[in-house]
């Protein structure tokens, strides 16, 4: 009887400790992105739409900083800050080709077109609240896009998504729960021994 009780006790502890690990194990690619489609015209930036998809973001943040993007968390801290190119500006080269394989460089083009749609794609951050876009030279805020709503919508529709599970709170509650169970088991064990 004593041995049986001990085995039950140990198995319970192991199950309690290992179960969160089993639950959290990822079995597929759950990378997500937040896509923010914008338009710039007459230096005014407007939001076209915003959504969340399952995919990978492009590697950005290595461009000359015409504009600055700041990703702001719900605690108002900056999650990430990076520069992007002015979507209105293109750099071109005028070239003439000849059938014998030669070509002639005629010069360059710097094309500046107003009224352009452009996209900022970022990784999914569960704690993101805003995407702010600034003009780098002046620091002027061009647009502030509220993203908390689409994150909450996504998590409501995908409650089992790993990025939507409350990872930070679960361990504390879980540890308290384990301590509570362990204490009860120990108490029962001690009472049983004393009865003998």
């Amino acid at each position: 009887m004593k041995r049986k009780t001990m085995i039950v006790f140990l198995v319970s502890i192991i199950l309690l400790i290992s179960s969160p690990m089993l639950i959290s194990a990822k079995s597929k690619d759950t990378s997500k992105i937040i896509i923010v489609n914008l338009n710039i015209k007459n230096d005014n930036v407007t939001l076209l739409d915003k959504n969340i998809n399952f995919s990978h973001p492009p590697n950005i943040g290595l461009q000359p900083n015409f504009f600055i993007v700041k990703l702001i968390a719900t605690d108002k801290k900056i999650i990430k800050e990076f520069g992007i190119w002015d979507p209105r500006l293109s750099i071109g080269d005028e070239i003439i080709y000849y059938e014998n394989g030669t070509m002639e460089f005629l010069g360059g083009i710097a094309s500046y077109i107003d009224d352009v749609n452009f996209t900022v794609t970022i990784p999914f951050y569960k704690n993101i609240e805003m995407l702010n876009l600034y003009e780098n030279e002046t620091g002027e805020e061009l647009i502030s896009v509220y993203l908390r709503d689409i994150v909450l919508d996504f998590c409501e529709q995908n409650p089992n998504d790993p990025d939507c599970v409350c990872k930070e709170e679960t361990p504390i509650l879980y540890i308290l729960f384990i301590i509570f169970i362990v204490l009860i088991l120990i108490t029962l064990y001690v009472i049983k021994i004393r009865k003998r």
Partner: protein
């Protein structure tokens, strides 16, 4: 008790919260005095307010209000002036107004409410106060009765002082920083307005009138076959630019293809001009507020008919190649443009021994090459070991001809043997070699392993003809894949033998870094019978329209490049965009173009750099192509083209999207160039699928964030960190010194016209890379400064993990 305290606190909080409203003065209240104040005449003043605009000026109205109450025991008899507002401007000009309650009596406790307006008529120091005049009774001890005197209210009684000296503009002079002087008149600082006053005449006009401050000047570029004119000018402020021109005798004004680009410097080329022709031209620029046109001027193009740099090469016993350079292309070429003069080139050759005759027996060969550099091979008209004389004749279609000088050459003695039609076709493990000779020969071919060659006797295999033949063909088996071999051939006739030099070839191999057709998740290099590499990656992030051609792992830390087929190309002759199905109607061809670019350019990047790049650079790229038969790119919609609709939704992981367009030849020429939107990911570019160098140049922008190093109307910036262009000589020198390079090689981005000493293009940016450099000419190599930046991008591409 507690309730009382609580109530008090609430009331106090209420009062405090509303106190700003109580104390606030309305914006239009220029002065206010709540009062009360009682004069010696027992008149109590309250609620004295002067209202008006924040900054009153001439023409504005001021409203004056106050209340007087008789707080004495006796009635007050006002005179014909009654109650009024006393006004002084410039201390001495009296402008009293609003006379009311005239010749009336104000009984004790009665009030007079004054409310009147005055229009500001002068910029000056204004004093306004409530006033009145009444008949004051004074006891006369002589007359034993009261006598009455006209008595005014207190002088400057709670007066309102206004300095009405606002900025204004008149007759092209701006008066500002106004203040009242000792006499109460307004004193101003002044400035002359270059462009007069603004509409409200409150300030100088801020119209930015655009002016041409230098030029327009014209340079005729006669380096090429067709004359072209370079017209350049400078503006006082940034503006657009366009050149209008017309041929002498024509009424139709043409213009340069314009693009909106705000710049103070403009330089436009006019192409396709006729030689020996006069043109009129003028330029037009527009700034933010107005436009300016230059006066007409003219230029005359030069005649390009000219032959130079004549040389003889590849001399054999019976052939010789004559080469020369021209400013024009040859006949077929010059026909494609109606503006050009047709030019033919013909080489006349004769044995020198007959050249002195009055009518030498010339043989002639007409030139058909399409280039600045021409060459013809004289064949069938020469004998061995003989001296010949020749000249080149250039003729325009209008009959004007120019003959070059006379030149001579001497043919060689007959060589043994002459070989032609050499063809080498290696596979993974074998090679087919064939060639022909003019003579019937007995042949032996010796095959060597390039790596283990120790001498002529170290051949791996040898084979020979059994008879004397003129067509020779040999097949070698048992070779190693991906290995370089060479061979020599020994030809014999009964009298003598002769050996050739070394010929090289490399057998094909697997693992070429490309996922070819049929190689799903496996890299077999060329065609393989069985899979020769293990499956490593599955593109779980690929939409059904995205197909990987070179997949090395998750896009998180790879440079992901997606190629898109363009449905358009460019007709150079008619200067229009054209629909082309060369790629969109032939997926196999487009995929081949993509694979050729990937295999022969991107994955050979290590051969295009002057300094090492990461040895595993191939594994830092993922390449894909996009294919949707209903949704293609358009390379010529905008500078960098238009991507298929919803492309970024389908391929959000894409770092660089490249639209490839097919060539559209018309009479042997095409145009298109390239364009990039973005220096570094995430970006998009367009490039010619048929020209790897130009596409690599565009990817220099789009992938690696490199800046153009040639001089033109492109965009320049110092692309820190690891720049290839700097915005000052000092910055360039500091950087290259830090790299241990020679700062003396820092040079300004400019272009010197070869034919004229003057500088045609200069930018305030500096470069260091040695020429030829890919960002300078889409030729040569990426210079060391560019390689530094390329390596920086390679090492930082996993941006989200930093």
């Amino acid at each position: 008790m507690f309730h009382k305290k609580f109530l008090l606190v609430v009331i106090l909080l209420f009062i405090i919260s509303f106190s700003p409203l109580i104390n606030s003065v309305k914006p239009e209240d220029l002065c206010s005095y709540d009062g009360p104040d009682v004069s010696e005449d027992y008149l109590e003043l309250t609620n004295f307010i002067v209202e008006g605009p924040d900054e009153p000026d001439v023409g504005d109205s001021l409203r004056v209000r106050f209340t007087l109450r008789n707080v004495g025991n006796n009635p007050i008899d006002f005179t014909d002036k009654g109650v009024f507002a006393a006004v002084r401007t410039s201390f001495y000009n009296i402008k009293d107004f609003g006379f009311t309650f005239q010749e009336q009596t104000l009984d004790p406790y009665e009030v007079v409410n004054f409310d009147a307006n005055i229009t500001v008529d002068v910029r000056a120091y204004w004093q306004i106060w409530p006033s009145y005049e009444y008949m004051k009774p004074v006891w006369s001890p002589v007359l034993k009765k009261y006598v009455y005197f006209r008595t005014l209210g207190p002088n400057h009684w709670h007066e309102c002082q206004l300095t009405i000296c606002p900025d204004y503009c008149k007759d092209g002079t701006h008066y500002y920083n106004g203040h009242a002087d000792q006499e109460g008149n307004c004193s101003y600082l002044t400035e002359e307005c270059e462009y007069g006053c603004n509409e409200n005449e409150t300030d100088c006009s801020n119209v930015s009138r655009i002016k041409i401050i230098d030029g327009p000047s014209v340079d005729i570029d006669d380096f090429y076959c067709w004359p072209r004119a370079h017209i350049y000018w400078r503006l006082n402020i940034a503006g657009t630019g366009i050149v209008y021109y017309r041929e002498f005798g024509s009424l139709e004004w043409l213009n340069t293809s314009s693009y909106t680009w705000d710049s103070t410097t403009h330089g436009h080329y006019i192409y396709y001009l006729k030689p020996d022709t006069t043109y009129y031209y003028y330029v037009k620029s527009c700034g933010p507020d107005d436009c300016v046109e230059s006066t007409w001027d003219e230029f005359t193009t030069t005649n390009m008919l000219h032959v130079e740099d004549v040389s003889v090469s590849e001399l054999t016993s019976r052939t010789a190649t004559i080469s020369w350079k021209t400013h024009c292309y040859s006949s077929g070429e010059s026909a494609f443009s109606g503006n050009r003069v047709l030019t033919n080139y013909t080489v006349y050759v004769v044995p020198t021994m007959y050249s002195h005759l009055p009518y030498p027996p010339w043989s002639s060969v007409r030139n058909e090459t399409l280039d600045f550099e021409h060459s013809v091979t004289l064949r069938g008209m020469l004998d061995e070991d003989k001296n010949y004389t020749f000249f080149i004749q250039a003729c325009r279609e209008d009959g004007i001809c120019v003959n070059s000088s006379l030149y001579t050459f001497e043919t060689k003695e007959q060589e043994f043997p002459q070989i032609f039609g050499m063809n080498i076709e290696p596979t993974h493990h074998s090679v087919d070699i064939s060639w022909s000779t003019y003579l019937y020969l007995n042949t032996t071919i010796f095959l060597y392993d390039y790596a283990s060659y120790t001498g002529p006797e170290s051949w791996l295999q040898k084979k020979g003809d059994s008879n004397f033949v003129s067509d020779h063909s040999f097949y070698f088996e048992g070779l190693s894949e991906g290995t370089r071999y060479f061979f020599i051939i020994k030809h014999c006739i009964p009298a003598k033998c002769n050996s050739t030099g070394e010929y090289f070839f490399t057998t094909t191999s697997c693992y070429d870094g490309i996922l070819n057709g049929g190689e799903y998740n496996v890299d077999c290099g060329g065609p393989c019978d069985t899979p020769c590499a293990e499956i490593r990656y599955e593109c779980t992030w690929c939409h059904e329209n995205i197909t990987p051609v070179h997949l090395q792992g998750s896009p998180a830390n790879k440079i992901d490049v997606v190629f898109i087929a363009s449905k358009t190309s460019r007709d150079r002759v008619n200067k229009r965009n054209v629909i082309s199905t060369e790629y969109t109607g032939n997926k196999t061809k487009f995929v081949k173009v993509v694979k050729d670019l990937v295999q022969n350019w991107f994955l050979k990047l290590d051969t295009l750099v002057s300094e090492p790049i990461p040895s595993d650079f191939k594994s830092r790229f993922n390449f894909y192509y996009y294919w949707d038969t209903t949704n293609f790119g358009d390379a010529f919609d905008g500078c960098s083209g238009k991507l298929p609709k919803n492309f970024w939704d389908i391929a959000p992981f894409c770092d660089v999207a490249g639209i490839l367009y097919p060539v559209y030849w018309v009479n042997g020429t095409a145009e298109g160039g390239g364009c990039a939107n973005g220096l570094g990911p995430r970006s998009q570019f367009k490039g010619p699928g048929f020209n790897g160098y130009v596409t690599i140049h565009e990817c220099g922008h789009a992938i690696f964030g490199l800046v153009d190093e040639y001089c033109g109307t492109t965009h320049y910036s110092q692309n820190d960190p690891y720049s290839n262009v700097w915005k000052s000589l000092r910055r360039c020198q500091d950087y290259v010194t830090g790299e241990g390079w020679d700062p003396g090689d820092c040079r300004q981005i400019m272009w010197d016209n070869v034919s004229t000493p003057e500088v045609e293009c200069t930018k305030n940016y500096w470069r260091w890379n040695p020429d030829p450099e890919i960002m300078e000419c889409a030729c040569g190599l990426f210079g060391p400064a560019s390689v530094r930046r390329i390596n920086y991008m390679f090492n930082n591409i996993a941006a989200w993990r930093r």
